[in-house]
Amino acid sequence: MGSRSSGLWLIYALGGGWGHLTRAAALARVARGPVRILTNSPYAGEVRARLPDLDIVAVNPELPVARAREEAVRQVRASNAACLIVDTFPRGLGGELASLLPALGAVRVLIHRDLNPEYVRGKALDEFVRSSFDVVIRPGPAEAAPLAGLPRVRTTAPWLIRSAQELPSREAARRLLGVEERQCVLVSAAGNRDEQEWYGSIARALIAGLEGVGVRCVAPARPPGCPGEAWLCCWPAMDLLPGVDVVVGGAGYNTVNECAACGVPLVARAWPRKYDRQALRAGQAEACVTSPDEAVVAVRTCLGRPGRSETRRDFSNGVQEAVEILESV
């Protein structure tokens, strides 16, 4: 007899940017049964193009809030999922799951990425999660987790879009990057639209300040000010890390955990977010900066250290463990 979670897993991954969708894709691609991802990320098309086997339902990110909430609820109901996996937002990003979850017949699992404690208090999330979820999975022991004290919380290694054995060689990654210089700095411009200019100025400052070092900037669209020859579009950017000596990026979940897993120094800028405390996560980075000048100094320090060791390939990918937890519920 199968477990209660046998059947379709629906991952509720609404949320801006790449983070929620990438984490959901990381889980979906290793699951052994049918999985559907519900997202409103503007990057759903890019992920679908790279992973065409994934079942991705994209809610139009331009929908007014009320209609997006209705659409999310409609999709959850229509999926008839055996297991609903809610990424980050226990009540749904717009609060639309709050009345639906308590009576839902499916197994309910919360993926507990960091949350603003003010939000946790304001919406009494500890009590809501206690009564509305069967399991809480914390994706990484270093991830801040204001609900970690609740019962039924399981902690895994960070969830990554690539496992160690899937990473390309350094040579193959350098070909993707198109670098010939001995050392390479990657600017990971994964943030919001109004943050892209900062990344463009970082790329410019690095090119001007680091002679003989390859500089690349990965972003879905060329950030303003970024020289065209330095820009590339690549998802997942983790495929580039074996060819990189230093990353400059934000302190989002994926950037920080991918760099930490591969042993690539991260020079991070902690951006303000409504729900996510990037400043806490940036504590895992090699250096925290705010200005392009600071970034150049920090990158130069990282590059000046004797011989960067090969990309680490001994890390665990928490999605394997998560699948086992989900299958056992």
Binding site: L14, G16, V65, A66, G92, G122
Partner: protein
């Protein structure tokens, strides 16, 4: 046309910045029909008024400043005196 569930995300206020919260920019004296991106930052009418009087702490025995700390509030203190009204679950592009 303004969507029916739109609320203005701008900050307004003379001394203490706070969320605007209007449901339409039409006729708004703060952003002038949406023309001013940050009405609080662009307020210039705080300047040119110099008759604030003398609030020397010596005139206010028992007040915090009497122990030696100055009572010189600045505009920047306004930011700290107002608890930002963080609105959750209203922005589906947030993360």
């Amino acid at each position: 046309m303004t969507p029916s569930d739109w609320t203005c995300p701008r900050r307004i206020g003379f001394l203490f910045p706070h969320p605007c919260g209007r449901t339409s920019p039409i006729g708004c004296p703060e952003c002038q029909n949406g023309q001013i991106e940050d009405p609080y930052a662009q307020r210039t009418d705080r300047e040119g008024y110099d008759n604030y009087g003398d609030y020397d702490s010596a005139d206010w025995p028992g007040a915090a400043g009497a122990a030696g700390a100055p009572l010189d509030f600045t505009e920047a203190d306004g930011e700290n005196l107002v608890k930002p009204e963080e609105e959750f679950e209203g922005d589906l592009t947030a993360s």
